[in-house]
């Protein structure tokens, strides 16, 4: 599995907040995506958009409820089409299947199109250890491969890098000249990648959707690199999280209309690729072998949890990231693993363990913007609350919530439970605050210091509402 750095959320988010380049990129990209999405929805009208969202939600809920059936159907149809479907229970097993397929072919070079599941598996690392030359062919992924980083954003992995940073990377890691302008950099990457496309033994892709009724794999891309990976090499290996399933091509229509509009604001991406098995007898070209590896890696555990299974409906469009005020400020790397933003805060604890990623469900104001923009209407804030409860109850978590927090809530609880304590606490608070202010100690109280370093505390009044209520009305 990919390295897990989720425990460093606080320090990494602070770093991102203090990094001017990251802050600049966040504003630029997020404004662009946000505006494009709104315009794309306006075009088909918000009413039609709502109908599509509701349909998508119904289809996904149905598919997840009968996933075993659709997996069987998919397997039968992939076989009928001349391909092989494998099932991997975790990242290690998926990596082992890829490794054995590559070894059997004696393959030396692999080209990849963007795949979040392969990031999850840490596949590139495994291939490098086998001395296989592996090249990411999506430009953003290529850049972060050179930089040895994880994706900053689900659909725009290198959005945090300036053109100057990219130009420098190209010089240092790919041996190009030092370019100044983006078109030059794009042209350079075309030449670098063209050679890889030409001579690669194996193409590895992800999958945006699997269509069970036809055994078809669907890929959406904007660079055409995905299609090169599925057609140029002799072997095509596709990786898909098992939640990528859809029953029929008719269902797919709903999702294709939602995905590009939510992600980039396009009606459709530039390329929508359908792969139904290897090259057939009368085909002029195409891969001789087609393997689909369907990966579980914690997903069946998610499926069992009625409160959290909805997260499997996600189509990885990134709209919740673009609209999340937390992501907009800290970006993707703070989340410490493959998935970031609101959906990452739900999926990561489920896949890597809540004990590893306790900050993620708590680092949210529960503002609900993610739920509002989600094309499949996933109720992310409610799931974050569920995870917080699990974390506090120590369900599936290795360590207990902080002592300070437990003490705070226990004291608070006694106060609000008793009318008497509740009434007096305000008066005590008011008096104590006055004394602390006089002694200029107000900003030194451990818990409140994190508030007062940038914000004034409200002055607790001597008389509460209930003390003054009789001035305006009569008590019941």
């Amino acid at each position: 599995m990919a390295d897990i750095k989720t425990k460093e959320f606080k320090s990494e988010s602070r770093k991102a907040l203090n990094n001017p380049q990251i802050q600049k990129s966040l504003v630029r990209v997020i404004d662009h995506f946000g505006e494009a999405r709104v315009n794309a929805i306006e075009e088909i009208t918000p009413e039609v958009w709502e109908i599509l969202r509701e349909k998508a939600r119904t289809i996904k809920t149905h598919t997840m409820s009968y996933l075993d059936h659709y997996l069987d159907l998919m397997e039968a149809n992939v076989r009928k089409n001349g391909g092989v479907m494998h099932f991997a229970k975790d990242a290690a097993e998926a990596n082992a299947i890829v490794a054995s397929l590559i070894s059997a072919k004696n393959a030396k070079s692999v080209i990849k199109s963007k795949s979040m599941i392969s990031e999850e598996m840490g596949l590139n690392h495994v291939l490098e250890e086998m001395n296989v030359d592996v090249a990411e062919t999506d430009l953003g992924e290529y850049i972060i491969q050179l930089a040895e980083e994880t994706p900053f954003h689900i659909i725009a992995p290198a959005m945090h890098k300036s053109k100057e940073e990219v130009a420098k990377l190209f010089v240092e890691k790919a041996g190009t000249k030092l370019y100044k302008e983006i078109p030059e950099l794009a042209e350079a990457s075309r030449h670098l990648l063209r050679e890889k496309f030409q001579f690669a033994d194996v193409g590895i892709t992800g999958a945006n959707f699997m269509v069970a009724e036809t055994g078809t794999l669907v890929l959406v891309t904007n660079e055409g690199n995905g299609r090169m990976c599925t057609s140029a090499p002799k072997m095509h290996i596709a990786l898909a999280g098992m939640e990528k399933m859809l029953p029929s091509l008719e269902d797919l229509g709903v999702f294709l209309r939602l995905l590009a509009r939510s992600a980039t604001g396009q009606r459709l991406t530039s390329y929508t690729t359908f792969v139904s098995g290897p090259k057939r007898e009368h085909d002029k070209d195409g891969p001789e072998e087609f393997h689909l590896i369907v990966v579980d890696n914690g997903r069946s555990k998610m499926l069992q949890d009625v409160d959290l299974r909805e997260a499997l409906n996600c189509i990885r469009c990134g709209a919740c990231l673009n609209n999340c005020p937390i992501y907009q400020n800290v970006g993707g790397h703070a989340y410490g693993w493959v998935y970031s933003g609101p959906i990452g805060a739900v999926v990561t604890p489920m896949l890597v363990g809540l004990d590893q990623s306790k900050d993620l469900p708590f680092a949210s104001t529960l503002c609900g913007r993610c739920k509002e923009v989600c094309p499949v209407k996933i109720n992310i804030p409610h799931m974050l609350l569920r995870l917080r409860n699990k974390s506090t109850q120590n369900e599936g978590a290795g360590d207990k919530p902080g002592v300070k927090e437990r003490v705070f809530f226990s004291l608070w609880f006694y106060m609000v439970k008793s009318k008497f304590l509740y009434k007096t606490s305000g008066r005590i608070g008011s008096g104590a605050q006055k004394i602390l202010r006089m002694l200029k100690l107000e900003n030194r109280i451990p818990f409140f210091g994190r508030w007062t370093r940038s914000r004034d505390l409200p002055l607790i009044p001597t008389k509460s509402f209930r003390d003054r209520w009789k001035d305006v009305g009569t008590a019941e």
Binding site: A363, T365, R369, Q393, W451, D456, G473
Partner: protein, 248 residues
């Protein structure tokens, strides 16, 4: 003569203990609108701080307390969108183990309204006859907007205030960064969020920013005070009760 509408106040712990003037303003506005206002003394907190921190059993205890206190009320009115969504949206979840209690809770939740929604959607009042001579903008509290679906109520009420010039700001519906314990657990992020919010409010030239939630107000007032801004953050009830004046 038609029967007078009777409403119980759920004043919320923050208004009770920190912002009593907001509560008193709300009472006066409701009374002016002809409502017979009651204040059940047994009330304390809705339990949201515990619930949002994952201490669901403590929150459940307080949900019981709320139910006991307000089950007989015709209406429950409160000055906060987030406490409102705790009661109207999240209590249901807390009571899911006990369908009978859940049903009783749903009945009370159905009669519970946030202040602006009560005025506009229940009483049909858009103009309370207040006046304010200055520029005002609105901060949409997240829970009020997205959990309770209040899109226009407050803005309609503000626009009916005589002399008020309403200024729409682009990020009015973006979170202020309060989020309860979030504001102290992740102060860096919380500060960045309120910082961006204040930049636009300041640029808008507004004299006041109106919000309907003590949490957002605490965050807005706290950061505005530290920045020594001329703009003030006020609760909608204070504006409608003619209690707001422009800072010099």
């Amino acid at each position: 003569m038609s029967k007078r509408i009777k409403a119980s106040l759920f004043i919320t712990c923050l208004v009770d203990q920190l912002y009593p003037d907001v509560g008193l303003s709300m009472v006066r506005v409701l009374q002016k609108a002809g409502v017979d206002v009651q204040f059940p003394e047994g009330q304390t907190c809705c339990g949201q701080p515990a619930f949002n921190s994952g201490f669901n059993s403590k929150a459940l205890d307080l949900a019981h307390k709320f139910l006991d206190t307000f089950e007989d009320s015709d209406y429950v009115v409160l000055p906060s969108g987030s406490c409102g969504s705790m009661i109207k949206v999240f209590y249901e979840d807390l009571f899911k183990e006990d369908p009978a209690l859940q049903k009783r809770m749903q009945a009370v939740a159905g009669r519970t309204y946030e202040f602006s929604q009560f005025l506009v959607n229940v009483l049909g009042v858009n103009d309370v006859g207040a006046s304010f001579h200055g520029k005002a903008t609105y901060h949409a509290s997240c829970h009020l907007l997205r959990e309770l679906g209040a899109t226009n109520e407050s803005i309609n009420l503000m626009k009916s205030v005589q002399g008020l010039e309403f200024i729409a700001v682009e990020n009015a519906t973006v979170c202020c960064g309060f989020g309860g314990t979030f504001s102290v657990k992740y102060p860096d992020i919380s500060e960045a969020m309120i910082g961006k919010k204040l930049d636009t409010i300041q640029a808008s030239g507004a004299d006041i920013v109106v919000a309907n939630d003590s949490g957002c107000l605490m965050q807005l007032k706290g950061a505005m005070g530290r920045r020594k801004l001329r703009t003030r953050a006020v609760h909608l009830a204070e504006l409608l009760d003619n209690k707001v004046t422009i800072n010099g």
